[in-house]
């Protein structure tokens, strides 16, 4: 199972990465794309939308099912990946390269706590394995 150690993970199968500019980049895990199968449609939030951690804000749909995507941290949506919307199947090819949206945390301290409460690769691996 492909679970990079430099990312943090939500139980709902999103990955989150804090970049040098302070933004949090979000995508879905390899396990999630594998479980969904061929992805055919992605709906992303409007940029400028402010949301708190755990809010449902995007949808990834495969041929067989629709899956809600939740914001792993609180903040404002500042970027969405139009390339993913235009080629949803690219998420199947590389779920860690094809990000979905970026969040600018409203409060860096709160964001650090939210990131700390996410799972590391090892813990997420156990969650994913239990669903196999």
């Amino acid at each position: 199972m492909n679970i990079p150690t430099n990312l943090k993970y939500a139980r709902s199968h999103e990955w989150a990465r804090q970049d040098g500019d302070g933004l949090i980049t979000v995508g879905i895990t390899d396990h999630a794309q594998e479980a969904l199968g061929d992805i055919v449609f992605i709906e992303l939030p409007e940029t400028g939308r402010k949301l708190s951690a755990g809010t449902e804000c995007a949808v990834v749909e495969s041929v067989k099912a629709a899956s809600d995507i939740y914001a792993p941290v609180s903040g404002e949506i500042v970027a969405c990946n139009q390339a993913a919307v235009d080629a949803p199947e690219s998420v199947n090819q590389d779920a860690y390269d094809v990000w979905l949206f970026k969040i600018r945390p409203a409060d860096p301290g709160k964001c650090a706590a939210e990131l700390a409460s996410l799972l590391d690769a090892e813990a997420y691996g156990l969650v994913a394995m239990s669903e196999e």
């Binding site: 199968g37 061929d38 055919v40 449609f41 709906e43 949808v59 749909e61 041929v63 067989k64 629709a66």
Partner: protein, 363 residues
């Protein structure tokens, strides 16, 4: 643990993603559902459909029994090997199941019913058979493999040249025995091909031989998108006991004229003679924006609301398509709106099928 077909271990070995389907552990796909879908539209794929139940019906009153039991008229089956699609109805005209019946002679038929309804069907059929000299024998000793696609027949003949004599001249919807195999030119994909009913012990060998010959193993995922594109109903989703064939796009399968009295006929006649505005219909929808319609989403029309019964992304059309049960007054060509997660999306009412024989049939 679910029930397993004779091919279960073969599927496991080929890395199939398995899931529960009507109580059976069945392959959903072997890697990519969409690739499998395209293989069937353009080349040849095969499906394990051994979870469906074959029944032999024998006896001197097999014909009058089926004439009473089925909404379609088995008298249409004049030539040996001919197959007929029919609904099995209850007294209110509700659909108990849909099935294929094969005619061999007036005292021998083969019936194939859905997996999820097999026990219920069998109980109903046994009950109706009480007053006829007809015997029903379930054939769980058989495996069924559907080989589908424009190259399907050719690849079956390449793998098993001996079957060619028996099956080459079969028109669509005909079947013939070849030794202990029943070869039918039928399917559930909108493509040409064969369905093979053969002894369960041969299933793995035949599956592997066909695979060697270039027939792609396909899961029930692609079977579902193929049948939806082909405008074919799925029992339990597009119809059940709460609706009649007339409300399910299946009026063509009901022989209402003539004297024949079949179970559910009275209810269907009453429904046929009721005002159109009180009736419902099953129709196709083409989503005009990006998105994926799903079963149970609401459909808003100028004549009242309806509901999607089956919806998916169509790999052939590269667009969202659906079957929906709508008020009877809605006409083909009308624009309706599908409620997808609280947002309303325009869709055009079309007459299914959406795609068959590799070609898109709606626009």
């Amino acid at each position: 643990m679910g029930k397993r077909t004779p091919l279960y271990d073969t599927h496991r070995r080929s890395g199939a993603k398995l899931a529960d389907f009507a109580g059976w552990d069945m392959p959903i796909h072997y890697g990519s559902q969409i690739e499998e879908h395209h293989r069937v539209r353009k080349d040849a794929g095969m499906f394990d459909v051994s979870h469906m139940l074959g029944l032999d019906l024998t006896g001197p009153e097999a014909f009058p029994y089926l004439s009473r039991l089925l909404a379609n008229d088995v008298a249409k089956l004049a030539l040996p090997g001919r197959a007929l699609y029919s609904c099995l109805l209850d007294d209110d005209g509700g659909v108990i199941d849909d099935l294929i019946v094969y005619f061999f002679n007036a005292e021998h038929y083969r019936i194939v019913v859905n997996a999820g309804t097999a026990e219920k069907d069998l109980a109903w059929m046994e009950r109706q058979a009480a007053s006829f000299a007809a015997e029903i024998t379930p054939r769980r000793d058989l495996a069924m493999i559907a080989v589908q696609g424009p190259q399907a027949r050719g690849k079956v003949w390449r793998a098993y040249p001996g079957t060619r004599t028996a099956s080459e001249s079969l028109p669509p919807f005909f079947a013939a025995f070849d030794g202990d195999w029943l070869i039918s030119r039928t399917g559930y994909t909108g493509e040409d091909g064969f369905e093979l009913a053969l002894p369960a012990l041969q299933a793995t060998e035949v599956w592997e031989e066909l695979q060697q010959t270039g027939v792609a193993p396909c899961g029930l995922g692609s079977r579902d998108t193929l049948r939806l594109e082909a405008g074919m109903n799925l029992y339990g989703q597009d119809m059940d006991e709460t609706v009649t064939p007339l409300e399910s796009g299946l009026a063509w399968t009901v022989a209402l004229t003539g004297e024949r009295d079949f179970i559910g006929k009275r209810a269907l006649l009453a429904q046929r003679d009721s005002p159109a505005s009180t009736r419902r219909q099953l129709t196709g929808l083409l989503l005009l924006e990006r998105g994926v319609p799903r079963a149970h989403q609401a459909v808003l029309t100028a004549h009242g609301d309806g509901e999607i019964t089956s919806g998916s992304f169509s790999p052939t059309l590269q667009q969202g398509i659906a079957l929906a049960r709508l008020p009877g007054a809605v006409a083909v060509g009308e624009i309706v709106r599908i409620d997808i997660r609280g947002k309303s999306h325009p869709a055009r009412v079309v007459k299914p099928p959406f795609a068959r024989h590799g070609k898109i049939l709606v626009s």
